[in-house]
Symmetry: D3
Subunit: 336 residues, 6 copies
């Protein structure tokens, strides 16, 4: 195409006012390209994530001016990085195959252009094309996955379909795009999947941190262990954040709420560590379902997860040059 | 199959407690078979109608005892008619073609068994398989359509698909299942479709009553005119009720709200007239979207539309035998 | 007692700021005494009317200054009448017998003091003690009832109890407090009660206007007919307004919503006519359930129903003295 | 300035995708310029109308493509007229004097450029600068006002201020911008203002249609009478639509809800008549308060009021050329 | 009776699809029998818990298939245990004495049949009959109580009644069913009860962990201490979980919200420990009030509390046989 | 004046039923005077805090009887202290200068009378007059500030105004009322302000604990450090609590929600420590915005923050006399 598609729902806006581009004409200077994946055709229960991109792009009380200086990380990711928003990919909810294929094309194109694709979901079905697109660029089987979620998303077939938001991680491992033993899941809990699927996961040597382990050992210890695995024989990391990893009491705007999750504070800190410590090559933030949200708190969370990731990437790049190391204990106003 | 599928979402309940059956094993004595079509994969905007069947089956403050004596019509439709609920048809949102095909099979089977199918949507995409299934039984091109809606639903292609909730009426006319000149639309308004589609509609000699005409002439006069057309050279009528024909201020639980609609009282009276005066052979009630509803008022409305239709059918059958004529002016307690 | 009980829930406020009193020490100059009946122990479905009195007392955007000049009726009911608010009667939800008995004592005492009791419900169970209390003063069997409601409320036994919000009208007729043939019901609809109860109603010569008749004949004609019956051989009228007579699409904050009701405009006009044309001796406004309300619209309606009743009573009294007749067609600013 | 201010809250979008301009650089071909007045600093009760412009600009399920062909009026206002959106005027809520002054400058400039200003409120305080700005262009005292509202908005001082959403109409008459005897108010009701203010209104010979008169005589008769007054010795009409003229049960998203209002259908038809029959020179649509809205139904209504006004203006212009007269009884598909 | 009563409100469903039974005909193989107590007649403030059983039975996004394999505990409680759902006990809200008596009969009967009763409330009034019924079976005074709650529920008389949701624990201790010095309360906080009631509690040697102590010492230490007391000279434990022990910010769907509570994660872990470490003989989960809930998050929590309890009971039984000990630090996929 | 103004919105109630006074006639025995500041004219985004005072005064399920015995602190602040509620200060939203000036007068008068002013906001603009009024009494520059907030509120000019809820802390430091190096901010996070403002803050030697530092070091350690600074060369402490310091997932009813905040438990414990350990001379609780709240959980939190502060002040006074020290580890029933 090259003509920008714009928005599938509502006005054509960009993430907090960053510049526009078309995904098949990524500017040369692009560090990051945001893509909207307004799709909930793969949802097994409550729909609404089609409005996730629209909601996450604008959930902020500050001016939409393409600038967000992080208090914590002392970078302005939207300026220190060159961030574009390529608008939505058209993804008709009633045709999941076509929709995921088109998204994969867009992600692949963006990655090939040398930019980090940041995909705003949408339901978690999109992780398959998202990580696949990145793997085509970074190297097939050379991308590890850090996956925050209440659910493993490794189902086989649901409602008669191989596609859906309960299955993308299986498809990714089956295809070889991502190695099972470089698949790190954090925050799982509840009553799904059953033994068969768990066996399949074990047989592929996935590493899944259920909340019980997270609580017993501490989130930071689990993350450190996971991050060590992630960079072993891999060249890039895909970060996939399902907001339902947070407790539904704090993030109600999602489709398959599972009580007992992380706090928002924990998620933001974990995303920050992931993007600061690891070579992240692609990101998606999924399962924000505005119809079930309350005063937009879940949309705000999604927006902040994106900003946290971008800020940490920017800081990582800066420190790579300067040799500095970010210190979480440094008082806010020290050195200002 | 023959094994009842049950419910796609939530527990397997029946419409206000009527008996269960499987759609491919309709009991001989069935007058009416209710089918759930929990599908919103064809929705162009706000989703959520997948929960419509579940919501409409239970939106009532009375006991779920399979009995609802109508004050107005003096029949107990759920007892005077033999009504079964065949549960949901599995309709994966991400595969509209398969989903509509499976629904069509179910509706066709029910109609072939001699029962009136009453389909609980779901988005309006389902009107295509619904009316097609009835036409296969009543006669291809021998079914007229009475269609309450804010929208014509005669679009050509949307989001790259021939299927969707904006296009079913076009597909029905193109296939010949329903004749364009026996297509009666009531309640249209707003800003869609544009001239091209309207020309197509005119060329097929559809008769569409926009709200301006309805207000200027009165709803009753418009209905009388439409009903006369409906029974001209047709053997049965399909009644398709999109709840968005009612003003969104009174029925907010829907996906594409268009201000300026009917009152709920008008809709109930119109549905009653339709089913009392015409030989209705199939019904669907669509576009109830619980995530956008308020205190279930729209789900209640959907439930009452179904009951109103069934009660009028029951009364029509009784009067056909007795020769009586129902009088809307008769005081409630006269003749009790 | 004589000590004011105050409020069962929340702070002790009065209706729009009118003066306080205790129900067992009604001031001599009282024309109207408002009583709160914060009770939902008789509710068969959604509870919440316990918060009705609190909500109706304050649902207004104007100052709580004990003044409300009616544009339409050209009186300031809260000043032209001497209106007191006696606070709530303590009504424990778990003991309906004691609660209704205590309310009856309060209403009887107020009526005996020569004031018109206006009771803010609470569920409709309270109509039994309300009208009984008024009948003890006006004369047993000498009070007619004008009853706006979606439901007849003439049930026999529910959930094993003679008491409840589905049965008060039966109890009133059985006791003889109100004659069955002076019982006027407006707005009934839906699927309750069944034939047995309807037969009982017919046998007591009740006159119930179902919505079908209301629509077919027009509300004004039905009211005129009903009002003629109401004043035949009766000395006073009890007005009982269940807000569910209004369509739930316009008044969602109620427990047993039945689609197809009056508009708020119709209800306000009907209440006005009732209180202007008839010798109203007692009023209750019931079934406002704030937990199911939206932006307080139903609480506002309840507040305005009370004000409309009081304004019409005030105007009736003024015109009785002046010989004037209120003209609904008079322009607002004429004669100002 | 000349640099477009953009949006005070959220992303800088335009009304349904029409082209942008700056209010102080109105393109020569402009027929209509939309201005956002995101201000609720004059609200006496529930705030939130600051988000009205944002909400009304996007409350639509159709593509934001700058095209809206009206089924009823057979024009595409957004294309048949040249409509621009000048974005918001910055209006700090805490400084009503400065904010209204800046808005007046913008409206005056737009009107002087020969375009019809259509102002999206905001609370009703803005009617003062809106109509003043138009009067500066059309002629001081040569603009009549058609004002749909539950409230007269003719208060003297509130909360110690001459400015506020209860007083704009008084200020307009006092200044002479609009003549009192060319001030037509439709839909008033309730309990405000009191006798003093009503006397002031009468003394300025305003004509206010309270809902009682509207019901008794019929809305159409009242409108016809009002429209006759409006064009007597005036050169233009300002249309001011407060959404609270509609019943809060149908339009809950507003700050000072008064039960017993018009239906949305009545309002749309009335706005259409006004803009088709009268020489409208300016429009504002006010008091949409999203925080109190439900599933955006009130925002949708505001959007449709704007479109109805624009469509009727477009049709009026077309018929002025063609000599045709629009017929509300014409079937939708006739002549297509 | 023996005939199953079914559901007091809505359709007759079972907890996540487990098999049905009648409480007075408990199958011999039953390990657990679920009972619904749809009662809010004892509520001192916001009602709505009558819909708790209905909500908790179905609050899940997974199939209602009577199977829930716990990721954390590696059991499928609904299959490893034989779980039946006996439906609701009819509990008329207006008659608390009769209602609690009938519930006690049902619980006693279930316990006598050798099954663990799990009662879905309902307000906390039901803890009296619940624990009494279990004590009749296990031994009077031989049951200790582990009670998670923001409130002590040891009041004397409220609203003139000994019965109510603020008093059950006092009644239990007074009757001797549960010993005061085997009464363990966790999570208390706020401003109730006052000194008199606290003295009464101290005099009965209750052990109540207020949140300040819980925070200062850590929840795990408090639980360990409490559990030691619970098994001293007692033969069984009754677990009573009031969801308001969780912070209302995370679990808003409850009637008497007290800020500063546990997180959902803490509650789930604590329930698990309780049922894994102690000989639990009865459970109730109370005070889920759907009208105040948001996107069902509190209903989901109630559902998960039940599942967590059942899973831990199942695992305890399995480990009792196998000699294994559950290790919270074991990685999810180890040993799969 | 001396005549009590009463309530700006709704009925004139007092905080949980404490006695009334007028702010310019503070009774001699007053320890604490509560003032309502129903103002949101300084809000940069979502409004609604004008209803904060009304909401916080009544957000409680207990009787409004002027008594609240704290379980944790073993005092009844509303009785052990002499607490009055002076009602609201009239603060017109459209005139921030006049409104803040009038509030400052009221606070100054209360402080001068020897009572601790506790101001219920309203937006955070009010901190300027609040702390200024206290400084006029305690000593200019002799008051330190403990400020819980997600935002620094040290902006220069917004929307063209020096006044607003993003700037009060700057104004306070500029005026010298509070020393910059005695300004302790806890809970900051997110993406505001930018480098210039941070430099200004650093240059004034403010001490701001961003959430990253709070998490890394622990809240208690940060508080201890801050409290040490607070009492160095200062005679009193002003405590300003913006509820948005709590995570919006737990406290959604606020205008500028920033994910990643404290839990409610943390805030309550921190407020308690502050008021128990420091000589608090004034308090405000701000930014509770009821239109965005859910089941009143944020209003409840605001109410509890006030009670926690008052209870700790009462306990501090008691222990100052008795020499006792409060022990958070003491079991609830010990010593009762």
């Amino acid at each position: 195409m090259t003509e920008r598609y714009g928005a599938m729902y509502g006005p054509d806006i960009t993430f907090l006012g960053v510049d526009r581009c078309s995904w098949d004409a990524v500017p040369d200077d692009a560090d990051v390209v945001i893509l909207g994946a307004p799709f909930d055709g793969g949802t097994s229960h409550r729909p609404g994530t089609r409005f996730g991109p629209q909601a996450m792009r604008q959930a902020c009380y500050l001016a939409h001016d393409g600038s967000r200086p992080s208090l914590a990380l002392r970078v302005d990711a939207l300026r220190d990085l060159r961030v574009y928003d390529a608008g939505d990919v058209e993804m008709f909810g009633g045709d999941i195959e076509r929709s995921l294929r088109d998204l994969e094309t867009a992600v692949t194109t963006v990655a090939a252009a040398g930019a980090i694709p940041v995909v705003l979901g949408g339901d978690h079905s999109i992780a398959w094309p998202d990580a696949t697109g990145v793997a085509r660029h970074v190297g097939w089987g050379r991308v590890s996955m850090v996956h925050f979620d209440a659910h493993a998303d490794t189902g086989e077939i649901e409602f008669g379909s191989l596609y859906g938001h309960g299955q993308p991680m299986r498809r990714l491992i089956e295809s070889g795009a991502v190695r099972g033993d470089r698949f790190l899941q954090i925050g799982l809990r509840g009553y799904w999947p059953g033994p068969d699927v768990l066996s399949w996961m074990a047989s592929h040597r996935m590493r899944s941190y259920e909340m019980t382990e997270v609580v017993a050992r501490g989130l930071d210890e689990c993350l450190s262990e996971a991050f060590t695995i992630a960079v072993d024989s891999c060249d890039g990391v895909f970060l996939s954040v399902d907001v339902d990893v947070v407790d539904p009491g704090m993030a109600p705007g999602t489709g398959t709420p599972e009580p007992g999750g992380l706090t928002t504070r924990q998620l933001l800190d974990a995303v920050r560590r992931c993007c600061y410590e690891l070579p992240v090559a692609g990101v998606d933030v999924v399962e924000v379902a505005p119809p079930y949200d309350v005063s937009d708190v879940t949309a705000y969370l999604g927006n902040r997860v994106v900003l946290e990731a971008l800020s940490a990437i920017a800081r990582r790049r800066r420190d790579a040059v300067s040799g500095e190391t970010w210190d979480p204990r440094q008082p806010l106003l020290d050195g200002r």
